[in-house]
Structures are given as structure tokens and as C-alpha cells.
């Protein structure tokens, strides 16, 4: 968007013309990590909401439980997050009234993609990661870009510390870029997923100023959703 702004076209500049410097977007920070297992999914998000160098809240959850089997983690511009999750909840309730059943995680993933693309020309500035159990009982993780491109992944990190965390997840969960014998490869259990997720967050909090305070972890299985909270650096 910034490459189309008037600053780059000097022949269009008008002396004395005032340009408003209101930007509709603000980054409120935060990171999300999600890992899909065979019959579970783990999603974790920090709880810090910030604006520039100030902190709005240390205890704002970024995980939104949309159904008993689906959790959406949303970070980026907080107002867009609130608006988007509110819209998703309304659409899911309408679905339940019409179809007399809860939406499957795959259906929610598709609907989220479409909802975000509807705003192609004034996007939701949100980094979304959807985690849940699909209709076959397997764990799934979907990641999105701000205009709704949806991708199925085994593990994904998003938000301000996303670029820091994704390589760690690739290495520890996908076991990439490592020389390991088959017998040394760890199996991805729930406990391992939770410990990798919390460890990555602890590292993120060390390096990313927007990530910290607490990390809220949700473990989704077909039997329900377990929650836990871990302390992070508060500076």
C-alpha cells in the first residue's frame, strides 16, 4: 500500500496541500504458535497487548474458542481482531440454527478465509491461526495472511515474533535441517507439543518486545479443550 502513496510520485505533489496522517491500522503486538498432532491440536498465544512502547494490558487473551473443537488465535490490529471474531461467532451461530449442528473445523477455516477476502481492499490487519480437530478426529492447524489465504500446516507461528519462532518449530516439530537417525526421532505427543510451544514462547519473550507477560496454551482434543497459563518475562 505504501508504494502507491503520493510520496513516490513527485509530479503529483502539490505545494501546501495537506495530507491526513491518520492510519486506520495499529499493531497491538503479540504472537501465536499452533501445532497439530495426530488426535490433538495445541495453540498458544501470549497475553500482552501493546501500542508502540506502551502496554495496554498484560492479561488480554488472544485465543477465541469458536466451538468445542475449534480455537482461533488472532493477533495484529486488536480492533480488527475483535470485529473479525465477533463476525465469525455470529456466522457460526447462524450456521447452527440452520443446520442444527456445530460447524466442522474445516468449514470454519474456509469461512474465515472467505470473510477475510471480502475485505480485500481494506483488509483486516490480523494474523490468524486456526487450530482444532477435523471431522476425521485428526488435529489440524490453518494459517492465514491478512487477506485470507488459507494454508494447512503441521505447525505455524504468527504475530510479531512469528519469524523468530517459525524456524524453531520447523526444527523441533518437523525435525527439519537435522541429521537424526530414525530411532532418535521423537514422537509428537501432547506433552512434547506443549513443551515445545512453551519453550518457543519463552525464547520469543527474550527477543521480541511485544511478546511477554503470560502465555495461554489450549490443548484441543475430541474430548474437550484444556487450558493452561505459563509465566513469561514481563519486561
Amino acid at each position: 500500500m505504501s508504494f502507491l502513496s503520493i510520496d513516490h510520485f513527485s509530479d503529483y505533489k502539490v505545494h501546501g496541500a495537506q495530507r491526513p496522517d491518520f492510519s486506520p491500522y495499529e499493531s497491538n503486538g503479540g504472537s501465536i504458535v499452533a501445532i497439530a498432532g495426530d488426535d490433538f491440536a495445541v495453540i498458544a498465544a501470549d497475553t500482552r497487548l501493546s501500542s508502540g512502547y506502551s502496554i495496554h494490558s498484560r492479561t488480554q487473551t488472544k485465543l477465541f474458542q469458536l466451538s468445542p473443537l475449534t480455537v482461533l488465535g488472532s493477533t495484529g490490529c486488536w480492533c480488527d481482531t475483535l470485529s473479525l471474531t465477533s463476525l465469525m461467532r455470529v456466522r457460526m451461530q447462524m450456521y447452527e440454527h440452520t443446520h442444527l449442528r456445530t460447524m466442522t473445523t474445516d468449514a470454519v477455516a474456509q469461512m474465515l478465509s472467505i470473510t477475510m477476502y471480502n475485505r480485500r481492499f481494506f483488509p483486516y490487519y490480523v494474523s490468524n491461526i486456526l487450530a482444532g480437530i477435523d471431522k476425521n478426529g485428526k488435529g489440524v492447524v490453518f494459517s492465514y495472511d491478512p487477506i485470507g489465504h488459507c494454508e494447512n500446516a503441521k505447525c505455524r507461528a504468527g504475530g510479531t515474533a512469528g519469524p523468530l519462532l517459525q524456524p524453531v518449530l520447523d526444527n523441533q516439530i518437523q525435525l527439519k535441517n537435522m541429521n537424526l537417525d530414525e530411532k532418535d526421532k521423537p514422537i509428537l505427543t501432547k506433552e512434547r507439543a506443549v513443551s515445545v510451544a512453551s519453550d518457543t514462547f519463552i525464547s520469543a519473550a527474550e527477543r521480541d518486545i511485544y511478546t511477554g507477560d503470560f502465555v495461554e496454551i489450549k490443548i484441543i482434543t475430541k474430548d474437550g479443550i484444556e487450558s493452561m497459563t505459563i509465566n513469561l518475562r514481563k519486561d
Binding site: 465477533s86 463476525l87 455470529v90 447462524m94 440454527h97
Partner: protein, 285 residues
């Protein structure tokens, strides 16, 4: 009610000041199977008789959930009911989206009444041919509302609409005083026992021994209880509970006017709740 020259259009008044088309629409409600609504201090309950039109088909849906705090049970044209329930759901969702709160029940009823009234005053629309019992719970407590095709809505302590609902109303009137103190189980049993009288007479005779084969749909809403339609197992549980309670009470056959076979033709089988009748004789053709 006889045919007359003032009933061809909903926009035509009769000389007695009546809108005959609206009154004919109210008759449509009496064609549907019976449904009962009643409330205690903390809960509002809807019970509907789900009788299929023939042995080959399944029964129509009688109870629709609208929101977590509200649901309706209908009698009349199901297609009209679906349209209205879609409207109510959409209103409740918009309110929740805008105000992060549940739509207060009485205001929603006013809103619905306004929508339904429009159809009684236009030459190109017809009244909705469906009567509803609305069970809701908000910070004013539980509510039961009766909504009729005339667009009138009445707040009720208990009510029954549909065909053969007079015996249910009699039961409700008789036990009205005890409803307020009822527990959740007791109020559900009262609802089931009330609707028992609305079965067609041949089946009522067969089923006198046991309520357990009754084909009903039950829903409850209240304090710490989002609107819920009970499952088959829960239905059976409460049917059996009502059975036990009924066994300990002598069944008074004399009140049941509806044990006579239903009368066909234009004559209504029972007066039923309706707008006040004028005491001027009607025009005959």
C-alpha cells in the same frame, strides 16, 4: 363463523369493526397440533405434540431455538413459522453483535408484533398463519408470550394453543397457583401432563395407561439454563416421571370436553383465545 361480503381482503373492515381475514388467519393456528407453555419462578418450559400427518412421514418441527435465552413453539403454517424464526434469530444476533447482550424478551415481542402488523394492513400481503408460544429468560425472569396472526402478543403465566388445546388450558388453569414454586422437574412434568389431554380421543384412550409412548418435544430455558430442546433420553425420563406423578392423581374425565370427536367444517371445535368478540350479530350472506 360464516362467509360474508367483508372478508375478501385484509384491508376491508366489516360494519362491526372486524377484520375477517385476520380472524380467519387465527383459525389456521387451531389446525396445528397442540403446544403448551408454562413458567415457574426460574424456568420457562415449552411442550409440543409432535404428531406426524401420516404414518409414512415424520412430524414437523414444532420448537425452534432462537437464541440462548429464547425459543419458540409453533402451531399453524410451518413455512410461515420458519420465516418468522429466521427473522427473530437475525434480530437477536444483530442485537448481540451490537450491544454484547441478549435481546430483552418483551422488546423482541414488540418488534415482532410490529413486523406482523404490517401484513394485516397491506392489500398485497397476508397475515402470518402461525401462532407462537415464546419461552424466554432475561434479567426480568422467565417469560411466556403468546403471539397470534393478528400480531397481538400477550404475556402469559401459562398458555396452550393449537387443536384440542382447551383441555391443556383447563389443566393449566387448575394448577396455575402451584407453578411458581415448582422445581425444574416439576414444571416439566406439569407441561407434559397438560398436553396429554390434547391427543386425539382414540389415542388418548389407548395411552391412558402410560404416557411413555407420547410423541412430544420438550424445551426449557431459565436461570443458568440456556434454551435447550431435550433429547430423546431426557424426554423419556420426564415422561416416566410425569407418569408416576399422574398415577398418584385421580384422572378427572369430566373436564375433558375434547374427548368428543373433532368437528369438521367451518365451525371451530372450541372457542380458544382470540381478540374480543363484538356482541352485534354478524351479517349473513
Amino acid at each position: 363463523m360464516f362467509r360474508n361480503q367483508y372478508d375478501s381482503d385484509v384491508t376491508i373492515w366489516s360494519p362491526q369493526g372486524r377484520l375477517h381475514q385476520v380472524e380467519y388467519a387465527m383459525e389456521a393456528v387451531k389446525l396445528g397440533t397442540a403446544t403448551v407453555g408454562l413458567k415457574s419462578a426460574d424456568y420457562a418450559v415449552l411442550v409440543a405434540l409432535c404428531k406426524p400427518p401420516s404414518e409414512l412421514s415424520t412430524s414437523q418441527r414444532k420448537i425452534f431455538s432462537i437464541d440462548d435465552h429464547l425459543g419458540i413453539s409453533i402451531a399453524g403454517i410451518t413455512a410461515d413459522a420458519r420465516v418468522l424464526s429466521r427473522y427473530l434469530r437475525s434480530e437477536c444476533l444483530s442485537y448481540k453483535h451490537a450491544y454484547a447482550a441478549s435481546y430483552p424478551v418483551s422488546r423482541l415481542m414488540t418488534n415482532l408484533g410490529n413486523k406482523m402488523q404490517a401484513t394485516t394492513q397491506r392489500y398485497d400481503r397476508r397475515p402470518y398463519g402461525v401462532g407462537m408460544l415464546v419461552a424466554g429468560y432475561d434479567d426480568k425472569g422467565p417469560h411466556i408470550y403468546q403471539v397470534m396472526p393478528s400480531a397481538n402478543s400477550f404475556s402469559c403465566k401459562a398458555m396452550s394453543i393449537g387443536s384440542r388445546s382447551q383441555s391443556a388450558r383447563t389443566y393449566l388453569e387448575r394448577h396455575l397457583a402451584s407453578f411458581k414454586q415448582c422445581s425444574k422437574d416439576e414444571i416439566l412434568c406439569h407441561g407434559i401432563q397438560a398436553i396429554r389431554g390434547s391427543l386425539p380421543s382414540e389415542e388418548a384412550a389407548k395411552k391412558e395407561e402410560s404416557l411413555a409412548q407420547l410423541n412430544i418435544c420438550v424445551a426449557i430455558v431459565g436461570k443458568n439454563q440456556p434454551f435447550k430442546i431435550l433429547t430423546e433420553e431426557e424426554n423419556t425420563k420426564y415422561l416416566n416421571m410425569a407418569d408416576e406423578l399422574a398415577g398418584s392423581v385421580i384422572h378427572l374425565k369430566s373436564d375433558d370436553d375434547d374427548d368428543q370427536p373433532p368437528q369438521g367444517g367451518d365451525e371451530p371445535a372450541e372457542p380458544g383465545p382470540s381478540d374480543p368478540l363484538v356482541d352485534v350479530p354478524m351479517d349473513l350472506p
